[in-house]
Point group: C2
Chain length 206, copies 2
Amino acid sequence: MIKESTFAKFNKIKSNDFKTDFANRGMGLENDINLANNYYRINDIAYVYKKPTPIKLVDVDYKKGIIKKAYFETPSTTDYNGIYNGKYIDFEAKETTSKTSFSLSNIHKHQINHLINVKNKGAISFIIVRFTTLGETYYLSTENLECFIKNNERKSIPVTFFREYGTMIKIKYSPRIDYIEIINKLYFGGNNYDEKKKQNCQQTCK
Amino acid sequence: MIKESTFAKFNKIKSNDFKTDFANRGMGLENDINLANNYYRINDIAYVYKKPTPIKLVDVDYKKGIIKKAYFETPSTTDYNGIYNGKYIDFEAKETTSKTSFSLSNIHKHQINHLINVKNKGAISFIIVRFTTLGETYYLSTENLECFIKNNERKSIPVTFFREYGTMIKIKYSPRIDYIEIINKLYFGGNNYDEKKKQNCQQTCK
């Protein structure tokens, strides 16, 4: 079973166990990323924030300033964006309990388009996927995500693809998920690390 | 009277005319900016979005996916961010009915700090202020906003400061508020346009 996003969840509520599922929903990864972002801000390394969940207001008591009825909306963009080292950063983070693959249905099509659009404008954009059962977390650049989508019929990305074309994020003490370290290696290390992976990916996918 | 942000409003509800105020709250400028952002996206010029209003959930019917009680929270950052021409863009937009000045109480201190932090990391950050009674809208860079704050005791920025150190955004047909045109002039025109204004500002403020 693959864990879905909050928003997808709210759009597809079918069972009574939703509350339990919601309470446990991806808090591990989300929490790790929030802590990393706090760490980056405190140390003046990067300014990356999680965007609030978009809400459709239905009934608001304006006198008291209380929202009395509202619905969760599907987000237009990704969950996280900000700035590091002069570059615009944009990413989505997801967890899956699958041991073999990550279903693309976890990310809305317009979110993938958003990642591609900002990447084409010069952003460092990517996804972070945690295979909770395997205990493995990967950084996958939008370049390689796009490469996979363009060259594959299947709707899920095998974990082997992440291992080959993504970068494993090893759990550290602080911050636990140091995705900026990966960005440094990929974009500021001067060795075109990701470019090589991208070229390999494109050659393999053909 | 200076119009306050939604969030400030919700934190300071004192009068019965709040509903009316809320309905008219800055929709002109906000609407203009949203239309501009749509225009930029459709034409693949820039990807800038308004962040959703942060909400504190109090009571949610998880089975039905309905929020039954919630409060508006103070946003950690600014309303708008995104990417243009490889640069991270970040700004806040406000309206005032004052004919003479813009009160800094309209922008939370942590929002100003955020603008300064991202500017220091290489962002193009700024505020857009519309003097509704005067029918004038200004782009003011965070550099010059910071210059004003550091060198002035007063808590409101005179319109004359905007005229001298900001850039007027003239209303066009489409998009009505073309702030990217200003950014082009300031940062991509090759004439250090804003650098001159900044230097003048610093000299004057001393």
